[in-house]
Protein backbone atom coordinates (compact mmCIF):
# COMPACT_ATOMS: atom_id res chain seq x y z
CA UNK A 1 0.00 0.00 0.00
CA UNK A 2 1.84 3.05 -1.19
CA UNK A 3 1.57 5.96 1.18
CA UNK A 4 0.14 4.10 4.17
CA UNK A 5 2.31 4.07 7.26
CA UNK A 6 0.95 1.97 10.09
CA UNK A 7 1.00 3.63 13.49
CA UNK A 8 4.06 2.78 15.53
CA UNK A 9 3.76 0.07 18.13
CA UNK A 10 5.18 2.28 20.87
CA UNK A 11 4.10 5.82 21.53
CA UNK A 12 6.22 8.72 20.45
CA UNK A 13 8.03 11.29 22.52
CA UNK A 14 6.61 14.77 22.62
CA UNK A 15 9.29 16.30 24.78
CA UNK A 16 11.65 15.25 27.51
CA UNK A 17 11.90 16.77 30.96
CA UNK A 18 15.42 15.93 31.98
CA UNK A 19 15.55 12.25 31.22
CA UNK A 20 11.82 11.58 31.67
CA UNK A 21 10.07 11.25 28.31
CA UNK A 22 6.63 12.77 27.95
CA UNK A 23 4.79 10.64 25.42
CA UNK A 24 1.66 11.45 23.52
CA UNK A 25 -0.29 8.74 25.35
CA UNK A 26 0.84 10.26 28.65
CA UNK A 27 -0.52 13.63 27.53
CA UNK A 28 -3.77 11.96 26.57
CA UNK A 29 -4.02 10.24 29.94
CA UNK A 30 -3.53 13.59 31.67
CA UNK A 31 -6.33 14.94 29.54
CA UNK A 32 -8.61 12.08 30.61
CA UNK A 33 -7.71 12.65 34.24
CA UNK A 34 -8.38 16.38 33.90
CA UNK A 35 -11.81 15.70 32.40
CA UNK A 36 -12.74 13.22 35.13
CA UNK A 37 -11.47 15.41 37.96
CA UNK A 38 -13.29 18.47 36.58
CA UNK A 39 -16.44 16.36 36.35
CA UNK A 40 -16.03 15.32 39.97
CA UNK A 41 -15.50 18.92 41.07
CA UNK A 42 -18.61 20.07 39.20
CA UNK A 43 -20.58 17.26 40.78
CA UNK A 44 -19.40 17.99 44.29
CA UNK A 45 -20.31 21.65 44.01
CA UNK A 46 -23.78 21.33 42.53
CA UNK A 47 -25.23 18.24 44.11
CA UNK A 48 -27.25 19.16 47.14
CA UNK A 49 -30.68 18.25 45.83
CA UNK A 50 -32.48 15.27 47.24
CA UNK A 51 -34.32 14.82 43.94
CA UNK A 52 -31.47 14.94 41.46
CA UNK A 53 -31.61 16.79 38.20
CA UNK A 54 -29.19 17.30 35.37
CA UNK A 55 -25.58 16.38 35.89
CA UNK A 56 -26.17 15.07 39.38
CA UNK A 57 -28.79 12.75 37.95
CA UNK A 58 -26.35 11.40 35.39
CA UNK A 59 -23.63 10.75 37.93
CA UNK A 60 -26.05 9.08 40.33
CA UNK A 61 -27.39 6.90 37.53
CA UNK A 62 -23.91 5.76 36.60
CA UNK A 63 -22.86 5.07 40.18
CA UNK A 64 -26.06 3.29 41.09
CA UNK A 65 -26.07 1.22 37.92
CA UNK A 66 -22.47 0.15 38.47
CA UNK A 67 -23.14 -0.64 42.12
CA UNK A 68 -26.11 -2.87 41.33
CA UNK A 69 -24.21 -4.60 38.57
CA UNK A 70 -21.21 -5.30 40.80
CA UNK A 71 -23.53 -6.37 43.57
CA UNK A 72 -24.97 -9.06 41.32
CA UNK A 73 -21.45 -10.40 40.79
CA UNK A 74 -20.13 -10.36 44.33
CA UNK A 75 -23.36 -11.30 46.06
CA UNK A 76 -22.81 -9.35 49.26
CA UNK A 77 -23.27 -5.62 49.75
CA UNK A 78 -20.37 -5.38 52.19
CA UNK A 79 -17.92 -6.78 49.66
CA UNK A 80 -19.28 -4.56 46.92
CA UNK A 81 -18.84 -1.48 49.08
CA UNK A 82 -15.25 -2.49 49.72
CA UNK A 83 -14.33 -3.22 46.12
CA UNK A 84 -16.44 -0.52 44.50
CA UNK A 85 -14.00 2.43 44.57
CA UNK A 86 -11.16 0.79 42.71
CA UNK A 87 -13.20 -1.33 40.35
CA UNK A 88 -15.52 1.50 39.34
CA UNK A 89 -12.55 3.82 38.92
CA UNK A 90 -10.88 1.32 36.63
CA UNK A 91 -14.08 1.03 34.61
CA UNK A 92 -14.72 4.75 34.29
CA UNK A 93 -11.10 5.57 33.52
CA UNK A 94 -10.71 2.91 30.83
CA UNK A 95 -14.07 3.78 29.31
CA UNK A 96 -13.29 7.49 29.19
CA UNK A 97 -9.81 6.84 27.83
CA UNK A 98 -11.08 4.56 25.08
CA UNK A 99 -13.90 6.90 24.10
CA UNK A 100 -11.63 9.94 24.12
CA UNK A 101 -9.26 8.11 21.80
CA UNK A 102 -12.00 8.12 19.17
CA UNK A 103 -12.51 11.86 19.30
CA UNK A 104 -11.56 13.96 16.31
CA UNK A 105 -8.17 15.45 16.99
CA UNK A 106 -6.60 12.35 18.47
CA UNK A 107 -4.22 11.60 15.68
CA UNK A 108 -4.33 14.35 13.10
CA UNK A 109 -3.31 17.04 15.57
CA UNK A 110 0.44 17.02 15.58
CA UNK A 111 3.59 18.29 14.04
CA UNK A 112 5.53 17.01 11.10
CA UNK A 113 8.90 15.79 12.12
CA UNK A 114 11.65 14.51 9.93
CA UNK A 115 12.12 10.85 10.61
CA UNK A 116 14.90 10.39 13.07
CA UNK A 117 14.43 6.80 14.10
CA UNK A 118 17.85 6.47 15.70
CA UNK A 119 17.33 9.38 18.08
CA UNK A 120 13.94 8.21 19.25
CA UNK A 121 14.85 4.54 19.37
CA UNK A 122 17.66 5.31 21.76
CA UNK A 123 15.23 6.69 24.30
CA UNK A 124 12.54 4.02 24.08
CA UNK A 125 13.11 1.05 26.26
CA UNK A 126 10.26 -1.10 25.05
CA UNK A 127 9.73 -1.82 21.38
CA UNK A 128 11.48 0.21 18.71
CA UNK A 129 9.43 2.47 16.52
CA UNK A 130 8.10 0.68 13.50
CA UNK A 131 8.21 3.36 10.91
CA UNK A 132 11.90 3.14 10.21
CA UNK A 133 11.49 0.06 8.07
CA UNK A 134 7.94 0.65 6.88
CA UNK A 135 8.08 4.08 5.29
CA UNK A 136 7.77 3.78 1.52
CA UNK A 137 9.87 5.87 -0.78
CA UNK A 138 7.09 8.31 -1.58
CA UNK A 139 4.66 9.62 0.97
CA UNK A 140 1.24 9.35 -0.67
CA UNK A 141 -0.63 11.40 1.93
CA UNK A 142 -0.48 15.16 1.61
CA UNK A 143 -0.25 15.97 5.30
CA UNK A 144 3.49 16.15 5.68
CA UNK A 145 6.11 16.97 3.12
CA UNK A 146 8.09 14.10 1.81
CA UNK A 147 10.48 12.44 4.19
CA UNK A 148 8.61 13.65 7.27
CA UNK A 149 6.27 11.82 9.57
CA UNK A 150 3.32 13.16 11.49
CA UNK A 151 3.90 13.05 15.22
CA UNK A 152 0.48 13.24 16.87
CA UNK A 153 0.16 15.21 20.08
CA UNK A 154 -2.49 12.94 21.52
CA UNK A 155 -2.90 9.25 21.09
CA UNK A 156 -5.44 6.84 22.52
CA UNK A 157 -4.32 6.10 26.06
CA UNK A 158 -4.57 2.33 26.07
CA UNK A 159 -2.79 1.91 22.75
CA UNK A 160 0.42 2.04 24.74
CA UNK A 161 1.34 -1.19 26.44
CA UNK A 162 2.97 0.76 29.29
CA UNK A 163 -0.42 2.18 30.22
CA UNK A 164 -2.29 -1.10 30.18
CA UNK A 165 0.53 -2.80 32.04
CA UNK A 166 0.32 -0.13 34.74
CA UNK A 167 -3.42 -0.67 35.06
CA UNK A 168 -2.91 -4.45 35.19
CA UNK A 169 -0.28 -4.11 37.93
CA UNK A 170 -2.63 -1.90 39.95
CA UNK A 171 -5.46 -4.39 39.53
CA UNK A 172 -3.38 -7.46 40.46
CA UNK A 173 -1.80 -5.76 43.49
CA UNK A 174 -5.27 -4.63 44.59
CA UNK A 175 -6.48 -8.23 44.31
CA UNK A 176 -3.61 -9.44 46.48
CA UNK A 177 -4.19 -6.60 48.94
CA UNK A 178 -7.86 -7.41 49.42
CA UNK A 179 -7.10 -11.10 49.71
CA UNK A 180 -4.47 -10.54 52.38
CA UNK A 181 -6.68 -8.05 54.20
CA UNK A 182 -9.59 -10.47 54.33
CA UNK A 183 -7.85 -13.75 55.01
CA UNK A 184 -4.65 -12.71 56.74
CA UNK A 185 -1.18 -12.91 55.30
CA UNK A 186 -0.31 -16.55 55.98
CA UNK A 187 -3.76 -17.94 55.28
CA UNK A 188 -3.89 -16.18 51.93
CA UNK A 189 -0.46 -17.28 50.81
CA UNK A 190 -1.20 -20.71 52.21
CA UNK A 191 -3.44 -21.12 49.20
CA UNK A 192 -0.44 -21.02 46.89
CA UNK A 193 2.30 -22.59 48.98
CA UNK A 194 0.86 -25.85 50.20
CA UNK A 195 2.87 -28.40 52.09
CA UNK A 196 3.40 -31.27 49.62
CA UNK A 197 3.62 -33.88 52.34
CA UNK A 198 0.19 -33.06 53.71
CA UNK A 199 -1.68 -32.36 50.50
CA UNK A 200 0.06 -33.61 47.40
CA UNK A 201 -2.47 -32.50 44.81
CA UNK A 202 -2.96 -29.21 46.60
CA UNK A 203 0.74 -28.59 46.15
CA UNK A 204 0.45 -28.71 42.37
CA UNK A 205 -2.79 -26.75 42.37
CA UNK A 206 -1.04 -24.10 44.45
CA UNK A 207 1.79 -23.85 41.94
CA UNK A 208 -0.68 -23.54 39.09
CA UNK A 209 -2.61 -20.84 40.92
CA UNK A 210 0.61 -18.95 41.58
CA UNK A 211 1.46 -19.05 37.89
CA UNK A 212 -2.06 -17.97 37.03
CA UNK A 213 -1.65 -14.93 39.28
CA UNK A 214 1.22 -13.80 37.11
CA UNK A 215 -0.58 -14.68 33.93
CA UNK A 216 -3.35 -12.32 35.04
CA UNK A 217 -0.87 -9.47 34.61
CA UNK A 218 -0.12 -10.51 31.05
CA UNK A 219 -3.70 -11.25 30.10
CA UNK A 220 -5.14 -8.03 31.56
CA UNK A 221 -2.59 -5.79 29.89
CA UNK A 222 -2.48 -7.50 26.52
CA UNK A 223 -6.23 -7.91 26.18
CA UNK A 224 -6.77 -4.19 26.58
CA UNK A 225 -3.70 -3.20 24.57
CA UNK A 226 -4.45 -5.57 21.71
CA UNK A 227 -8.04 -4.46 21.40
CA UNK A 228 -7.31 -0.73 21.44
CA UNK A 229 -4.22 -0.83 19.26
CA UNK A 230 -5.82 -3.15 16.72
CA UNK A 231 -8.82 -0.84 16.65
CA UNK A 232 -6.54 2.09 15.91
CA UNK A 233 -4.87 0.25 13.05
CA UNK A 234 -8.22 -0.92 11.72
CA UNK A 235 -9.66 2.59 11.66
CA UNK A 236 -6.55 3.95 9.95
CA UNK A 237 -6.58 1.22 7.31
CA UNK A 238 -10.30 1.67 6.65
CA UNK A 239 -9.98 5.41 6.39
CA UNK A 240 -7.04 4.98 4.06
CA UNK A 241 -8.90 2.55 1.79
CA UNK A 242 -12.27 4.32 1.52
CA UNK A 243 -12.25 7.71 3.25
CA UNK A 244 -16.00 8.38 2.98
CA UNK A 245 -18.84 6.50 4.73
CA UNK A 246 -17.12 3.12 5.05
CA UNK A 247 -15.24 3.84 8.31
CA UNK A 248 -18.56 4.55 10.06
CA UNK A 249 -19.51 0.97 10.99
CA UNK A 250 -15.93 0.48 12.15
CA UNK A 251 -16.25 3.51 14.40
CA UNK A 252 -19.39 1.87 15.74
CA UNK A 253 -17.40 -1.30 16.36
CA UNK A 254 -14.75 0.73 18.14
CA UNK A 255 -17.33 2.38 20.38
CA UNK A 256 -18.65 -1.06 21.28
CA UNK A 257 -15.16 -2.41 21.91
CA UNK A 258 -14.34 0.60 24.09
CA UNK A 259 -17.28 -0.17 26.35
CA UNK A 260 -16.81 -3.94 26.40
CA UNK A 261 -13.09 -3.80 27.19
CA UNK A 262 -13.63 -1.41 30.08
CA UNK A 263 -16.41 -3.63 31.38
CA UNK A 264 -14.36 -6.81 31.03
CA UNK A 265 -11.33 -5.33 32.80
CA UNK A 266 -13.41 -4.11 35.72
CA UNK A 267 -15.54 -7.26 35.87
CA UNK A 268 -12.55 -9.60 35.84
CA UNK A 269 -10.85 -7.56 38.55
CA UNK A 270 -14.01 -7.79 40.62
CA UNK A 271 -14.39 -11.54 40.08
CA UNK A 272 -10.75 -12.19 41.00
CA UNK A 273 -11.11 -10.03 44.09
CA UNK A 274 -14.20 -11.97 45.10
CA UNK A 275 -12.37 -15.24 44.58
CA UNK A 276 -9.33 -14.00 46.48
CA UNK A 277 -11.36 -13.00 49.53
CA UNK A 278 -13.14 -16.33 49.78
CA UNK A 279 -11.44 -19.20 51.55
CA UNK A 280 -11.60 -22.66 50.07
CA UNK A 281 -14.31 -23.94 52.39
CA UNK A 282 -16.61 -21.14 51.42
CA UNK A 283 -15.93 -21.68 47.74
CA UNK A 284 -17.36 -25.16 47.82
CA UNK A 285 -20.46 -24.10 49.69
CA UNK A 286 -21.47 -21.16 47.55
CA UNK A 287 -20.31 -19.82 44.22
CA UNK A 288 -19.37 -16.19 43.77
CA UNK A 289 -22.57 -15.49 41.86
CA UNK A 290 -25.19 -16.42 44.40
CA UNK A 291 -28.51 -14.66 44.64
CA UNK A 292 -28.63 -12.10 47.44
CA UNK A 293 -32.04 -10.49 46.98
CA UNK A 294 -33.49 -9.41 50.32
CA UNK A 295 -35.86 -12.06 51.57
CA UNK A 296 -38.80 -11.31 53.85
CA UNK A 297 -39.07 -13.45 56.96
CA UNK A 298 -42.27 -15.50 57.36
CA UNK A 299 -43.50 -13.69 60.50
CA UNK A 300 -43.07 -10.33 58.82
CA UNK A 301 -44.90 -11.74 55.83
CA UNK A 302 -47.85 -12.66 58.05
CA UNK A 303 -47.76 -9.23 59.62
CA UNK A 304 -47.84 -7.57 56.21
CA UNK A 305 -50.62 -9.90 55.11
CA UNK A 306 -52.50 -9.19 58.33
CA UNK A 307 -52.31 -5.42 58.05
CA UNK A 308 -53.22 -5.52 54.39
CA UNK A 309 -56.28 -7.59 55.21
CA UNK A 310 -57.53 -5.16 57.82
CA UNK A 311 -57.17 -1.99 55.69
Amino acid sequence: MAGFTPPPLSSENILEIGSFPIRNTLLASWLVMAILIIGVLIFSKNSRRLIPRGFQNLVETIVEGLFNFFNAVTGSVKQTKRFFPIVATIFIFILSANLLGLFPGFGPLGICEPEAPAAVAASTENLPIATASEVPAENGSAICPQGELLLPFFRSVNSDVNMTLALAIIAVIAIQFFGIKELGFFHYWGKFFVNPFRDFIGFFVGILELISEFSKLISFSFRLFGNVFAGEVLLLVMSFLVPYAVPLPFYGLELFVAFVQALVFALLTLVFMTMATSSHQEEQAEGPLKDDTPKVLPEEMAKIGGTAATT
Binding site: L9, L127, A130, F222, N227, V264
Partner: protein, 71 residues
Protein backbone atom coordinates in the same frame (compact mmCIF):
# COMPACT_ATOMS: atom_id res chain seq x y z
CA UNK B 1 9.99 -16.15 2.75
CA UNK B 2 8.38 -12.78 3.14
CA UNK B 3 7.81 -11.67 6.70
CA UNK B 4 4.25 -10.62 5.95
CA UNK B 5 3.38 -14.20 5.12
CA UNK B 6 4.28 -15.29 8.63
CA UNK B 7 2.32 -12.42 10.10
CA UNK B 8 -0.75 -13.56 8.17
CA UNK B 9 -0.27 -17.22 9.09
CA UNK B 10 0.12 -16.37 12.78
CA UNK B 11 -3.06 -14.37 12.79
CA UNK B 12 -5.04 -16.90 10.74
CA UNK B 13 -4.13 -19.97 12.78
CA UNK B 14 -4.28 -18.10 16.06
CA UNK B 15 -7.87 -17.05 15.45
CA UNK B 16 -9.26 -20.52 14.77
CA UNK B 17 -9.33 -21.64 18.40
CA UNK B 18 -10.86 -18.51 19.89
CA UNK B 19 -13.45 -18.31 17.12
CA UNK B 20 -14.59 -21.86 17.83
CA UNK B 21 -14.52 -21.24 21.56
CA UNK B 22 -16.61 -18.09 21.36
CA UNK B 23 -19.07 -19.79 19.04
CA UNK B 24 -19.54 -22.73 21.42
CA UNK B 25 -19.86 -20.46 24.46
CA UNK B 26 -22.46 -18.27 22.83
CA UNK B 27 -24.43 -21.22 21.49
CA UNK B 28 -24.61 -22.89 24.89
CA UNK B 29 -25.62 -19.60 26.44
CA UNK B 30 -28.36 -19.14 23.85
CA UNK B 31 -29.61 -22.64 24.55
CA UNK B 32 -29.70 -21.95 28.26
CA UNK B 33 -31.52 -18.66 27.76
CA UNK B 34 -33.97 -20.35 25.42
CA UNK B 35 -34.79 -22.92 28.08
CA UNK B 36 -35.11 -20.38 30.86
CA UNK B 37 -35.69 -16.84 29.61
CA UNK B 38 -35.98 -15.45 33.13
CA UNK B 39 -32.37 -16.31 33.89
CA UNK B 40 -31.10 -14.32 30.90
CA UNK B 41 -29.28 -11.66 32.90
CA UNK B 42 -27.77 -14.28 35.19
CA UNK B 43 -26.38 -16.15 32.23
CA UNK B 44 -25.23 -13.05 30.42
CA UNK B 45 -22.63 -11.87 32.90
CA UNK B 46 -20.59 -15.08 33.13
CA UNK B 47 -20.96 -15.50 29.36
CA UNK B 48 -19.37 -12.12 28.72
CA UNK B 49 -16.57 -12.98 31.13
CA UNK B 50 -15.89 -16.30 29.43
CA UNK B 51 -15.97 -14.70 25.98
CA UNK B 52 -13.42 -12.14 27.14
CA UNK B 53 -11.13 -14.94 28.31
CA UNK B 54 -11.44 -16.70 24.96
CA UNK B 55 -10.89 -13.49 23.03
CA UNK B 56 -7.74 -12.79 25.01
CA UNK B 57 -6.12 -15.81 23.33
CA UNK B 58 -6.80 -14.28 19.94
CA UNK B 59 -5.28 -11.05 21.21
CA UNK B 60 -2.12 -12.93 22.22
CA UNK B 61 -1.85 -14.18 18.63
CA UNK B 62 -2.40 -10.62 17.44
CA UNK B 63 0.39 -9.33 19.66
CA UNK B 64 2.78 -11.97 18.32
CA UNK B 65 1.81 -11.02 14.77
CA UNK B 66 2.41 -7.34 15.54
CA UNK B 67 5.79 -8.13 17.06
CA UNK B 68 6.78 -10.12 13.98
CA UNK B 69 5.69 -7.31 11.71
CA UNK B 70 7.10 -4.38 13.59
CA UNK B 71 10.14 -5.61 15.46
Amino acid sequence: MDKNLFVAITMAIGSIGPALAIGWLASKAMEAIGRNPEAASKIQTPMILAIAFAEAIAIYALVVALIIKFV
